[in-house]
Point group: C2
Chain length 235, copies 2
DNA sequence: CAGTGGTCTAGACCACTAT
DNA sequence: TAGTGGTCTAGACCACTGT
């Protein structure tokens, strides 16, 4: 029992380079041959490790050029975590505007979701997002303060917050779980979304995790789905 | 251009066995060595073809036993196409009861979704689904009549309709696209779901495709999400 | 042209299952 | 013990990119 093939050990070693930041987003990593030499295994075993990492969107391989560390601003990665697309037309990445940003203690449910102690300090950011001039959603983002020191020091929170996580704190969002429900717009959200209270909204509850599987972000979005939908491919 | 590696040609040949029914669900297929001999390629190339098919849930490989054709009643396959899970507790497969079953012409939108001519005959089945004694959704299933001859001859439509597709017409559902929106319960649905009109519902628009990528089923579900949610893993 | 990733081969050995 | 899928190796060649 507990048998783990060699290529998974190799993978673990390579992931460690991503975790400790020695391989930064956008960088070329050594070639298969070079890694095989360094790690004293065959090229085929290195390849298998690289293949699993590519499948998990951690690396991007380009024939003839090399293997690169995935960047949060790659459109592939972008839409990996953004599944709302217009009913017609192609998908696009929404603009954001921050409404509120404050620090306070985690509630019971927030603490459970983020796997931290209730009352532990966290940043709570509320922002609106727009797609082609149209306001489509309001979301509340919760971030444990200890993982994000000096959070509010930055004058502005950029549009792609996962890119910020990566550049400022070296945190890579590798995976997320979403839970979807239909709810009615509460007065506060209705005001922000410029719709009637009681409008049906798609509520998305997301827990985002880093390379090591630790919960990093809790995000609850409420979306107007008149002209857009949440797309899922089942294969 | 148009280059296609050998293992993809091998894959195409193997998928043909599934399409024409010579490899039926549950069957053991020949071993890697045997296939390599028959197809005059190396075992490694057969393996790569089999790996892609396993990743697509078409095959199930069991070390020491052999490679099997996936069955629609396998729990893995079952939950591949059923993403609604209770907020607490483990996921379960819902019971169904048919409310209505009639044949008529496809509307414009139905025809577009199913890639058939408007007005082409299709079966329209409406049914309720229950999870642990609780009615959770009402759904309308549209099936092109020409793909499902003698559809209503069967006394009853079973719970797992994809298993029926497989057993009765040899149709394997290999893939589906879902579009989710939040809507308000219309009076007719509210009556069926025993809720108030205006209750928020999760509306799931599904197009299911066979092994060859042809649209086979259009299904529109309206779900109560008080105690359940739609689960998505983003990796 | 050299260097990269991608494919294909042939063979050895490991882990699991059944007999 | 024999047969299966799973891992690992070593080497050849193909396709793509840059110089």
């Amino acid at each position: 029992m507990e048998y783990k093939p060699l290529y998974m050990h190799i993978r673990d070693q390579l992931v460690r380079h991503l975790v400790d930041g020695s391989w930064a987003p956008g960088m070329v990593i050594p070639s298969e041959m070079e890694l095989a030499r360094q790690l004293q295994v065959s090229q085929g075993t290195v390849r298998k490790a690289l293949d699993t990492m590519t499948a998990d969107n951690l690396l991007v391989r380009k024939q003839g050029k090399g293997t690169f560390v995935a960047e949060p601003e790659d459109s592939r990665i972008l839409f990996q975590f953004f599944r709302l697309v217009p009913d017609d037309g192609p998908s696009a990445f929404p603009q954001s505007s921050v409404i509120e940003c404050e620090e306070s203690g985690a509630s019971e449910s927030e603490a459970t979701a983020l796997e931290i102690e209730p009352g532990a300090p966290l940043w709570r950011i509320q922002r609106l997002r727009h797609l082609a001039e149209r306001c489509i959603l309001v979301e509340t983002i919760c971030l444990p303060s200890d993982r994000f020191p000096d959070f509010p020091d930055l004058g502005q929170i950029p549009n792609n917050i996962y890119q910020l996580f990566s550049m400022r704190w070296g945190i890579t969002i590798a995976q997320a779980e979403e839970r979807l429900k239909a709810v009615l717009a509460e007065p506060a959200d209705a005001r922000l979304l410029a719709c009637e209270p009681g409008t049906p909204l798609l509520r998305i509850h997301r827990i985002a995790r880093d390379l090591e599987g630790r919960a990093v972000e809790l995000r609850i979005s409420r979306c107007l789905t008149d002209d857009i939908h949440y797309a899922v491919n089942l294969r």
